[in-house]
């Protein structure tokens, strides 16, 4: 029996096990929406802006093992989706984004709501397709899912012209797909794996550096076993948080621009580094030359060969699925019974503990102003460290990463690569739908939240009782911090005047709003928001935080990992920087 292209698409998504798709209808996708109306196997979530559809689908994937699915119309629907697609691309998140397109005869005619979606998204997708013939539709969808989730995952866009959704064809969904030009590697080279183990066993100052690849690659258990069985120190990148338990003593905290003192010092001073699904990016190692100025041997395990030797030349490159490679390494280690030099390792730990004892995340408490760090700490306590936490981008994101200890992978969802403000709320929504029983908190700021605040409406419609923790300092905090440090306290356009009453906004959308202005109210308010009474409600918490707080440690542009700007209590003279002046802070 022949069915329409729209029905073929819907049936294909069903075959892929779709549970939720996130989208927004429009002219070019009306046929598809009609086919969705006539099925009940998966649910459609109607967002309020297409960017949010992609972030929600993205977080749905980040917080589960599934591929996220989004559906947008042609033209503005498609362009609105681009920021979300680029976000997923930078963080290697498997997504399939279906975009409507004008009918094939109209392509190139500057038709109403026409945009070259394949052209626009080409640099920010793993792959994309324009389906010109209905006969190719089912196979293209199969390929899209296969490409999105295999190898280094990423978003795949499938652009479908309206006439293809209306045409008729027989439906047969392929069982498998073979793409001769796409053969992702899984197993690492055995010789290289052996070399890596050899290097590790000879190490005096070993260090395990774990990135988002270990989270996406499902390798947290293997990472944990490697680190624990050999008693090694471990750090996670912003994207890797949760790959190794954040509350474990062998964890030195996040590294990088706002990493902990001990994590960064160990990164600079280790002699054998095992990089697992991480890519030595600029926010992590800063200047490659400085990083390499302390001699070290580097093993780099990554599924994407182009991540290896991109910024840093390594001694033992291993291309392969991190989970597979780590399993083989663990087997070799077990079989050999070898361990790194115990005395040297003990010395190394002694050095690390000395760094750690400087307590770089210490901040001065205040009874007058709410310290943003204290809100994250209280959130950690009250949620028992169990919440799925999403964040937006800025100071609050760094404080969330520093002070909430993530023990599980896929528990921390943030836009690490692209740094997309507006990610947090739609992401919380997507994560809540993927994990209906989980507590989901979105740590945000008054700047970021306003970039997708309209999604409060979607949260109401779909009963996603996420808790929004807004650290409201009336400033675009990270911009303000840079202006304080590097632009002579000229706070150009980083102060937001005329902020709305967020409590009223929350209430207007049918949610619960809270305004918290005193440090003494932080904990009670959080307890109430996370109480059984409000379990089914979205609670928007507007914390009025200290405007002058900065994120420390910090590595300035051009500085090395061991050249951090330290928090006041760690500075030798303990004096504030000369240009520190809050005179014109409001």
């Amino acid at each position: 029996m022949q069915i329409s292209g729209a029905e073929i698409l819907v049936r294909s998504l069903q075959e892929e096990g779709a549970e939720y798709i996130f989208g927004y209808p429009g002219g070019a996708v009306l046929e598809i929406y009609d086919a969705i109306f006539r099925q009940n196997q998966f649910k459609h979530v109607l967002v309020r802006h297409e960017q949010a559809a992609i972030h929600a689908a993205d977080a749905y994937s980040r917080s589960s093992d599934k591929v996220g699915i989004a559906l947008v119309t042609s033209g503005p629907g498609a362009t609105n989706a681009v920021t979300g697609i680029a976000t997923a691309y930078m963080d290697s998140i498997p997504l399939v984004v279906i975009s409507g397109q004008v009918a094939t005869p109209a392509i190139g005619m500057d038709a109403f709501q026409e945009v070259d979606m394949v052209g626009i998204t080409r640099p920010c997708v793993k792959h994309n397709f324009l389906v010109k013939d209905i006969k190719d539709l089912a196979e293209t969808i199969k390929k899209a899912f296969y490409i999105a989730k295999t190898g280094r995952p990423g978003p795949v866009v499938v652009d479908i012209p309206k006439d293809v959704t209306q045409a008729l064809a027989e439906f047969a969904y392929p069982d498998s797909v073979h793409i001769r030009s796409y053969l992702p590697v899984t197993r690492g080279h055995p010789g290289q794996i052996k070399k890596a183990v050899g290097l590790l066993m000879g190490a005096k100052r070993p260090y395990i550096y774990v990135g988002g690849g270990a989270v996406q690659g499902g390798a947290a258990a293997e990472v944990t076993e490697l680190v624990r069985s050999l008693g090694l120190p471990c750090t996670n990148t912003l994207m890797g948080l949760g790959a190794y338990p954040g509350s474990d003593p062998q964890f030195l905290g996040m590294l990088g621009m706002h990493g902990t003192y001990e994590a960064n010092m160990a990164m600079q001073n280790c002699d054998v580094l095992i990089a697992i699904g991480a890519r030595f990016d600029d926010r992590v190692i800063s200047v490659p030359e400085h990083f390499l100025s302390s001699p070290k041997k580097i093993v780099h395990i990554d599924v994407d060969p182009s991540s290896i030797a991109k910024r840093v030349k390594v001694d033992v490159p291993i291309v392969g699925d991190v989970k597979h490679v780590l399993k083989e390494m663990l087997e070799l280690i077990r079989a050999s019974g070898e361990r790194p030099d115990a005395a040297a390792l003990a010395d190394w730990w002694q050095q690390i503990e000395a760094w750690r004892s400087r307590d770089c995340l210490l901040y001065k408490p205040s009874s007058e102003f709410i310290k943003p760090q204290s809100v994250v700490q209280a959130l950690y306590e009250i949620t028992g460290g169990n919440a799925i936490v999403t964040s937006d981008v800025g100071q609050h994101q760094m404080w969330a990463a520093q002070y909430y200890k993530f023990d599980r992978p896929k528990q921390w969802l943030n836009s690490g690569g692209l740094g997309t403000m507006g990610f947090g709320l739609p992401a919380a929504m997507g994560a809540q739908l993927a994990n209906p029983d989980a507590t989901v908190a979105c740590i945000t700021g008054e700047g970021s939240i306003q970039m997708n605040i309209q999604e409060l409406s979607t949260c109401k419609q779909y009963h996603t009782p996420v808790k929004v923790i807004s650290l409201n300092n009336r400033y675009l905090g990270m911009v303000r911090q840079w202006q304080e440090f590097f632009y002579g306290t000229r706070y150009s356009e980083s102060y937001m005047d005329a902020l709305p009453d967020f409590v009223k906004i929350a209430e207007a959308y049918g949610h619960v709003g809270m305004k918290i202005e005193s440090p003494a109210d932080v904990e009670p308010a959080l307890r109430e928001a996370f109480s059984a009474k409000l379990k089914e409600r979205l609670v928007f918490m507007d914390f009025r935080t200290d405007q002058s707080e900065n994120v420390f440690p910090m590595i300035r542009n051009g500085k090395g990992l061991d050249q951090m700007d330290l928090p006041p209590h760690m500075r030798e003279d303990d004096a504030p920087p000369a240009n520190r002046d809050y005179g014109n802070l409001c």
Partner: protein
Amino acid sequence: MKHILSILLENEAGALSRVVGLFSARGYNIDSLTVSTTEDPTLSRMTIVTHGSDDVIEQITKQLNKLIEVVKVIDLNESEHIERELMLIKVRATGKEREEMKRMADIFRGRIIDVTEKTYTIELTGTTEKLGAFIEAIDRAVILETVRTGASGIGRGERILKI
């Protein structure tokens, strides 16, 4: 250093722009690019001449391989290879210059493929350097128009690039 990359890719709409987009997005250089279908109509063969340090060339190769439609990439510079480029050059050929131009074309093994009273159009093949040498050898002032295809390359001997 100059490198000649030979790429086998799916003969599909958009594949060429993915390759070109990659070079511009990542700031790599393209000195020349040629592409056409092969004896297998599902495949295109592309030759890109680029330059950069060994690290850059390694990244280019890896990034090209990452493109879904790219089947294979080789750097022809890694072993012996043959490189050819075609040039069509229209020159003024009047009076004394007419005889001189004919002689010069012969020396470079070019062929005159179109003649008017005032011009010759010369077809010349060879390495990029040879074509450059021809342009250097004749009087710049007589050149009316130059069209070059960019280099195509193939491995010498039994070395082949196939699926």
